[in-house]
């Protein structure tokens, strides 16, 4: 187990180094950093001096090592458009994205499991067939189209929910104000969260359905029926418990993709999170923000994958001793 952890850690480290290299190349070669910092009247000598003071005249390898050092000490530079440290900008936007992602994940988990169980228990019912058909459409359509459809129905036609932005904020700490404490906050969170969670919900629903159908055919369920246990107990105690192991793995891995897809959802609803910031930085070629976001996302994914892998190994004894990760 320890060997596995060490190897997995080393792998993650290599991936992060490669991503850092890409970020460094972007940082260094997308436009001249000196030109971004100085005005028109700066003389060539002054530019050269600045270049030397920034260490830009050093060999590339030295620059890269120094870049890695800066990244490791969480110094990501200053945004070109906002003239403020990138770290500060991202920290400001983090609560919005995390709230959206967590609510979407919970929403998709709860409704996905409930609907999946329902479909497995009534496999031939009309509602199950309808749910299956809707989930097929939901998986096929692009996220932003679903978001626009929801805006049209609930904001424009019915006028029930706000169509964009984050509101009803209550400050919790200096950097963290939450919208989860007011009705207004929940109202503006609902549409983005549903849009973001819909895809995951259909995925979980299908997974739970097929896993549960399989478990219901197992011998221990038959034995339970033969013993005369109440149905509710068989279904929700014994069957559901055995269904959830693979579901947890998939949900863990999907957490990363929720964060990735939040870029799209945040744009549709103009939700002021990190994804929207990243997108604006792509449009304006704000390299410091872009490269930092790249590093941040890569870090999240590497961590999530590693933890899920190790958990899986710890939970499933059949995988023990196998050398492949």
């Amino acid at each position: 187990m320890i060997a596995l952890v060490v190897r997995r850690l080393l792998q993650s480290l290599v991936v992060m180094l490669v991503v850092t290299l890409i970020a460094f190349i972007m940082f260094r070669y997308a436009g001249d950093p000196v030109n971004q910092m100085v005005g028109v009247e700066t003389t060539e000598a002054e530019r050269q001096a600045l270049r030397e003071s920034l260490g830009l005249d050093q060999p590339t390898l030295v620059q890269f090592v120094r870049y890695v050092g800066r990244v490791a000490s969480l110094n990501f530079g200053v945004s070109f458009q906002f003239r403020r440290p990138v770290m500060e900008l991202l920290a400001e936007r983090l609560p919005a994205t995390l709230e959206l992602a967590l609510v979407a994940a919970m929403l998709s988990l709860v409704s996905g499991i409930l609907l999946g169980v329902y479909c497995a228990l009534n496999p031939r019912g009309r509602i199950s067939a309808a749910l299956q058909a809707v989930s097929l459409v939901g998986v096929s359509l692009p996220t932003f189209l679903i978001g626009i459809l929801l805006i049209y129905v609930f904001s424009v036609a019915l006028g029930w929910l706000p169509s964009f932005g984050r509101s009803g904020l209550v400050p919790v700490t200096k950097h963290w104000s939450t919208g989860l404490l007011t009705l207004q906050g929940w109202k503006s969170l609902l549409l983005p969260a549903v849009t973001l969670g819909l895809f995951q919900m259909t995925l979980i629903m299908r997974l739970v359905r097929s896993e549960m159908l399989e478990v219901l055919r197992a011998d221990f369920i038959r034995f339970g029926v033969a013993r005369g246990l109440p149905q509710r107990r068989i279904y929700f105690r014994h069957a559901l418990k055995n269904t959830l192991v693979p579901v947890i793995t998939v949900v863990g891995l999907q957490l990363g993709s929720i964060i990735a897809f939040s870029i799209i959802t945040e744009t549709v609803f103009q939700w002021p999170g990190m994804g929207l910031l990243f997108l604006q930085s792509v449009q304006n070629v704000d390299v410091p923000i872009m490269s930092t976001y790249l590093l941040l996302i890569a870090f999240m994914f590497v961590m999530i994958n590693m933890v899920v892998d190790l958990l899986y190994n710890a939970v499933d004894p059949r995988l023990k001793g196998s050398s492949r990760v």
Binding site: V15, V18, I22, M26, Y29, A30, G31, V137, S140, L141, P142, T143, F144, L145, I148, L149, I151, Y152, V156, S163, G256, S257, A260, F261, I263, I264, T267, V268, F278, L279, S281, V282, Q283, V285, V287, M290, L294, I297, A298, F301, N305
Partner: protein, 315 residues
């Protein structure tokens, strides 16, 4: 050597012919849903590829635009005109023509992207499978890492990196190329994995040993001998990936980092149209959205069906 090639070709042909005459065709005729999907898809494809001849107006010819005709609703609504069947946008552009041209752009760009992805994936897959060793480890590890990120994220990042590398003035002109490369770099993994595993099976067969005995260069063996024998699963992946590529292109364009408003794809049209949703001009966003939805749905239906019908192993 030529005989082996011919045999391989004959083998390939007989497989295709056999499939075509038997299950595939019967299954196709029996499946109403797939039939309808194919019909719809065929209509969309033909109409969009023939857009310059079918569309009532050229939406990008600024001379033909008339502000007097701006924001007209579709023909069946009050205030609509039969001259503009699906209405017009704020500049008096005919929506029907805009959608047809947008479809065309979306389809062409996505197809190029998928072909690029296939080309990258197939070549890396054959090389990895044929040589093995360090090259194999390097390529497949990269593939593993990339597979743990969602494709849309990779596409966005590649798009962003390419954007930052280009000088500001060239960005609009090279937007199409940037998207094609983004799609190519985000979808190659599946091809590489499939082709690598079939290459590892094929390279142990007698015809490859024979070719090696002739001391043929590795390149010739890979391209002329192995490649034709590992292509059939690739075709299935191509169909399924086409739908995903369309979604990716539409998403990038919707996010405003794809095709510019001057040469809009469906995604760009939807982004522009969303602004008019609140003032009641629903048709500016609805028709491009509808076209995109139908295109993706029919492609998915067709791809799923083809996968199940052609290759039960992939199920």
């Amino acid at each position: 050597m030529t005989r082996t090639t011919n045999e391989a070709e004959a083998h390939g042909r007989s497989v295709w012919a056999g499939v075509w005459q038997s299950d595939l065709c019967i299954d196709f005729r029996a499946n109403r849903l797939v039939l309808v999907a194919t019909l719809l898809l065929a209509i969309l494809l033909t109409a969009s590829l023939l857009a310059p001849w079918v569309a009532p107006t050229d939406p990008f010819d600024a001379m033909s635009l008339d502000v007097m005709h701006s924001n007209l609703p579709p023909a069946w609504q009050q205030g609509g005109s039969t001259e503009f069947l699906l209405g017009t946008d704020d500049q008096g552009r005919d929506m029907l023509s805009a959608v047809l041209y947008g479809l065309r752009t979306s389809i062409v760009i996505s197809a190029l992207g998928v072909l690029l992805a296939a080309a990258i994936g197939i070549s890396l897959g054959i090389v990895a499978g044929y040589f093995g060793g360090f090259v194999d480890t390097l390529i497949m590890r990269t593939a593993d890492v990339q597979l743990s990120f969602p494709a849309i994220l990779i596409a966005l990042l590649v798009d962003g990196i390419l954007h930052s590398m280009l000088p500001a003035l060239k960005r609009d002109d090279s937007a199409a190329m940037v998207i094609v490369i983004s799609i190519g770099l985000s979808f190659w993994v599946q091809y590489a994995r499939t082709v690598r595993s079939s290459t590892m099976v094929e390279k142990k067969k007698d015809y490859v040993s024979a070719a090696r005995l002739f001391a043929l260069p590795s390149r010739t063996i890979m391209v002329r001998h192995i490649l034709p024998n590992v292509m059939s699963p690739v075709l299935v992946i191509l169909t399924i990936n086409f739908g995903l590529a369309i979604i990716t292109e539409a998403t990038l364009s919707y996010l405003g980092v794809g095709l510019p408003p001057m040469r809009p794809s469906l995604g760009t049209l939807i982004r522009i149209g969303q602004e008019y949703l609140f003032s009641g001009e629903w048709w500016i966003v609805a028709f491009p959205g509808f076209a995109l939805a139908i295109l993706v749905l029919t492609l998915n239906l067709l791809g799923d069906w083809l996968r199940d019908a052609l290759n039960p192993k992939l199920r």
